[in-house]
């Protein structure tokens, strides 16, 4: 028991290029006092330009390293079986023109799609009908109904994304945050399988 080392790999770690990665950067460690600081300082990887921006450290590699340096120690791995190291290569600034283009695209696109939707479901006829039901008068442009409708449209979308309540009336994440999380998770899953040479075994057929 005294010689057991527990490690838990972190999910994602960001490092700078040409930096050494130590065990304490990529994993949480529980061990005896004497070897704890030595374990923390154990160099796991040195980032080189050839690594590109994603490095996967498998827990097997880490266990192998620990048992090589501390032969009389038993390692117990808990949690994720690998760490994704993301090398931050000089953050490029956001290109303003590209951003404006995307913004304009989304703006025009959503304006056109809502108009198509209205035509598709005969929203105009429905509005005229509602106006007639309530007032008993015929009106080809019931703007009194349609202008609040238009603003309500935007309000409804903001409500859905929960940005209206920036103060956060509850702890739950908004659907968009969940969606971002799911997307990031699938990306991580992809690199874990594809960038990690240990997790795939192929026949050499060349």
């Amino acid at each position: 028991m005294e010689n057991t080392v527990y490690i838990r790999m972190r999910n994602r770690v960001q490092v700078n290029p040409t930096e050494s990665v130590f065990l304490k950067d990529i994993a949480q460690i529980i061990s005896r006092e004497e070897i704890h600081s030595k374990l923390e300082k154990l160099p796991v990887h040195r980032v080189t330009p050839e690594d590109n921006n994603i490095i996967i450290i498998d827990v097997m590699v880490v266990i192998g390293m620990i048992t090589r340096f501390f032969p009389n120690v038993e390692v117990q791995a808990v949690g994720p079986t690998q760490t994704i190291i993301e090398v931050i290569i000089k953050k490029k600034p956001v290109s303003i023109s590209l951003f404006l283009m995307v913004w304009f695209l989304l703006f025009i696109g959503s304006a056109i799609t809502i108009m198509n939707f209205h035509e598709d479901v005969s929203m105009r006829a429905v509005h005229q009908r509602i106006y007639t039901i309530i007032t008993g008068k015929q009106e080809s442009k019931p703007l009194l109904l349609q202008i609040p409708y238009s603003f309500g449209l935007g309000l409804g979308m903001i409500l859905f994304f929960n940005h209206f309540f920036k103060k956060r009336i509850n702890e739950e994440p908004s659907p968009l945050e969940v969606e971002m999380f799911k997307y990031q998770q699938s990306l991580d899953q992809y690199v874990i399988i594809n960038e990690n040479k240990e997790s795939m075994k192929r026949l050499d057929d060349d």
């Binding site: 956001v94 290109s95 951003f99 039901i133 007032t135 603003f151 969606e179 971002m180």
Partner: protein, 140 residues
Amino acid sequence: MTISIILVFLIGLAGGLAVGAGFVAFLVVLGVIPRLTQLTKTMKMIQLYEWAVVIGAVGGTVGSLRDPILDTSAFITVPIGLAAGIFIGLLAAGLTEALNVFPILAKRVRIEDRIVILIMAIVIGKIIGSLFQWVYFIDQ
């Protein structure tokens, strides 16, 4: 005669059943009601919300199949229009297609932290597009 009445009755009932079930399934898929209860913390009232949807759907059916005239003030259409707009907005935002686009787009343009600005583009686009259509476009 009796047979045709029964037949028409059955066909009407079957059509209503199919459309009603489809309508509810549509609402469930887009998650509008869960989202509203989550925002307002009224999970306990969810059964009453179901009734609101059912009564609303039946009322809408009556309104569109019969020709009721209420003869009241035109200003009553203001809250009705607003509510209709908010509901359609929730539907539009709930469409998974729209939801899936944002993470990818935000990563490409590298503005993960300011994704609100992209949402605003869509929201303002919807408002302007709708206003443009009702005020100007339909006259052309």
